[in-house]
Amino acid sequence: MEALDRLSDHLSTRLLDLNLAKQEGRKIIGYTPGGFLPEELVLASGAIPIGFIRGGNHDMVELAGAYICHWIDTFWRAQIGYGISGDDPYYSIIDLLVMPITDNHSRALMDVLDDNTAIEIFPFGIPHTKDDPAFKYYLNGITRLKAKLEEVTGVEITEIKLKEAIDLCNRERELLREISLARRSRKVPISSRDFIALGHGSFLADKQVMVEVLESVVKELEEPVVSSHDGPRILLTGSTLAQGDSKVIDLTEKAGGVIVIEEFAEGIKPYWESVNLDGDLMAALADCHFARRVPPGWFRPGRERLDFLVKLAKDFDVAGVIWYQLMYRESYKVESYYFPDILKKGAGIPLLIVESDYDSAEIETLRTRVEAFIDTLRR
């Protein structure tokens, strides 16, 4: 796809561009990728948001072992490795790291970086439930964030600037939604690999460029699908799908499966909801990013997401679900015990659970399991 080439070109010089922007006085705001940070606030402050979505590298996981035991989720241990080693250059150029504290795994990163690096961190807590006190706490968190961003950038986040930023981010979400929904067709117009690349790109790219790329993709999708991917349609879900962690996608594709929809708490930016521009904009941000957002596995009750997965399975007419989780993310592990029954009752399809610690030694075991599952679906 031409649009993807453009995105790739843009990202290849992104670090250079960010350094130039920084020299011109713009602030770079890093954030961890759970979808709870309203990028709109960062953009409205004139700063540049950068999501830390790299993963898949076992060396970084190993490196974290000097700072934390291995019973913490793989992705977050990898972030400790990146953050401390400087292997991810984005960690070195940020002026502030904003951390929505979701569960104890993200909290581990905050504590370890706080104790071992000079990175300035701004945490704000994400409640695990969706009642009224929780909504107020989230709203308070992003209101504090707004003040912090104004302090760091020296720019007042006005109503007008915020509305412009929301418009831009809403456009990005609408386009991602449109592209994703196109995959409901029997002739799948875009591969999961490409869709995920767009999603990952949206954490790093200039927002305006990203929107233009997505608009180009939509145009390209309007053209007749020449070659479609055949094979059992798959829903891929789990805790985190990081950039560089493509093992399960590679194996599924090689085995002949076609991933047509993904649902992840981290690594795939939520695109199902848009911010409502009526009324108080801060409350509207909280409504979209917290109240209406499909909750991750560590929310309690967590049934909303599981019901959503059943709905996705039906809407995208999938033959099976691959549940891909990283080691030691306990919320997902516990759910993986009772979700197969819910899925069977709700959509009548099977589920395969696979786990990873970003270790290359896992590959053959994963391959056997994925191949057997796709084979079963074919029959």
């Binding site: 009750p301 919320s331 015990y337």
Partner: protein, 467 residues
């Protein structure tokens, strides 16, 4: 006629009258628990080997745990409403429910009760753990074994499905998620008491008022939900009474803890742990009989202190652990046998609390404020800071940060707390990966090498200091 359980019960401080009074209930509970004559013999040997049974106080505390176990196993059959809470927990909610309807409610942390009874006394927790592993919490994934015990207990039908569960959602993800699993399976109503530990490393003792408001609102929600689900009105008077009950037991525990500071250490930490955890796990026997039984133990320990009797040599290096094993007293014994005195567990230490002039008005907010002041539910840094303070206050020679490997709030501090404590106090802190609830892998033998090496280092430091 003598029954197969008489000897064990007598060993655990039961009188003949107690056995006559409680015999039928005990028999019924033991049947449910599949505890037969052979188990009694094994338990007798285990108790004799690992507990200080020459002390009546220890025997009677073991007896209290058996009574609590029986209450737990039979509560549904005896027509009580059943309420469970998790561990660790904010002090108050469970006790308030119990105070509101003492005759009609059974309220406890069931997994902690099973650990202290089936584990500490019968050494027969493995079948429960295995049942938990087969019913949703498989081994090898770092899933909390305390929760595995709860799941296993319900799967085996030895503990009843509760009428209500209080989730410690302000601290750990695993407990809350396990309650979700159990709700999917059994339909148990659960109240989520949420919070967010989003304070930075270095922030304690400060905190933002929003944290108090959020946790406070969640605790107030718990009060409303309790009215809705159980029909119980948790009025301010009830809370006051609950906190008074709680304090009455804690005062007794504190007396015991103070006695443990003596050199030589008068009794194994395993004995004082049995007393300390009563108030955490139980709202029944801990209140009705706990203060008197703990006082009995304190009296005996006081006599030992007066006579200069100890379980370790005078002058042994003194260390602290977070807890001792909930299930296996041999682990505490192993540490003591390595020559390390353990006068205190962090869980029972008196903390340097600053005077609090609360401006909050609701029950929930007041409870939340206290919890944030304590530190453990504030942040990992709050815990680290408190740990360092206790090391200083008790003038310890070392500390053992035994982090529960499958508890994320604990595991995330595996390196942070030892580093912080060693740097701020100058006192060595050993990071030790443990499982307080399951001794199948993290046994005394498995931990021995690391502890012995640490003990040698402390002894040599102490000798150098004395020279």
């Amino acid at each position: 006629m003598a029954k197969y359980y008489d000897e064990l019960l007598k060993l655990c401080g039961f009188t003949d009258r107690d056995i006559t009074q409680e015999g039928l209930r005990i028999e019924k509970a033991f049947q449910k628990l599949e505890l037969g004559p052979e188990d009694m013999m094994n338990a007798e040997a285990w108790v004799r080997q690992h507990h200080d049974i020459e002390l009546l106080g220890v025997r009677r505390i073991l007896g209290l745990w058996i009574k609590e176990l029986v209450d737990l196993v039979l509560c549904r059959d005896e027509g009580k409403k059943v309420v469970y809470y998790g561990f660790p927990t904010i002090a108050g909610p469970g006790m308030a429910i119990k105070v509101a309807a003492p005759e009609h409610v059974y309220c406890s942390c069931p997994d902690a009760v099973l650990c202290h009874s089936l584990g500490q006394i019968f050494n027969k927790l493995d079948p429960v753990l295995e049942a938990g592993e087969q019913n949703g919490l498989p081994p090898g994934h770092g899933l909390c074994t305390l929760q595995t015990i709860r799941v296993g207990g319900m799967a085996k039908g030895i503990i009843p499905v509760p009428d209500m569960v209080i989730m410690s959602s302000y601290y750990c993800d695993m407990g809350s998620k396990t309650d979700e699993l159990l709700r999917e399976r059994y339909g148990q109503p659960a109240i989520v008491v949420d919070g967010s530990m989003d304070s930075r490393w270095g922030e304690f003792p400060d905190y933002r008022p929003e944290r108090v408001k959020f946790l406070g609102a969640e605790l107030n929600k718990f009060i409303d939900k309790t009215r809705e689900i159980l029909g119980l009105d948790l009025t301010p008077d009830i809370w006051e009474k609950a906190m008074a009950f709680n304090k009455a037991v804690r005062v007794r525990v504190r007396e015991l803890t103070d006695l443990m500071k003596a050199d030589p250490q008068p009794v194994s930490i395993a004995a004082s742990e049995l007393a300390t955890l009563l108030i955490t796990a139980s709202t029944g026997r801990s209140v009705t009989e706990g203060p008197e039984v703990i006082a009995t133990l304190s009296k005996e320990v006081r006599e030992r202190v007066r006579a200069g009797i100890g379980v370790l040599a005078k002058g042994s290096p003194r260390v602290m652990t977070f807890l001792t094993s909930f299930t296996d007293p041999s682990i505490a014994r192993m540490i003591e046998n390595a020559g390390l005195a353990m006068p205190v567990m962090f869980n029972s230490a008196t903390l340097r609390m600053r005077p609090l002039e609360s401006t909050y008005t609701t029950i929930g907010e007041k409870r939340a404020e206290v919890q944030l002041e304590v530190g453990m539910f504030h942040s990992s840094y709050g815990l680290a800071k408190r740990w360092a303070e206790v090391v200083e206050d008790f003038k310890l020679d070392g500390s053992i940060w035994g982090y529960q490997f499958n508890c994320r709030p604990s595991a995330e501090t595996s390196h942070l707390i030892p580093k912080f404590v060693t740097e701020t106090t100058g006192v060595p802190c050993l990071s030790l990966e443990v499982d307080y609830y399951d001794n199948r892998i993290y046994s005394a033998e498995a931990l021995k090498t690391r502890v012995e090496t640490f003990a040698e280092m402390l002894k040599s430091r102490k000798a150098e200091g004395a020279a």
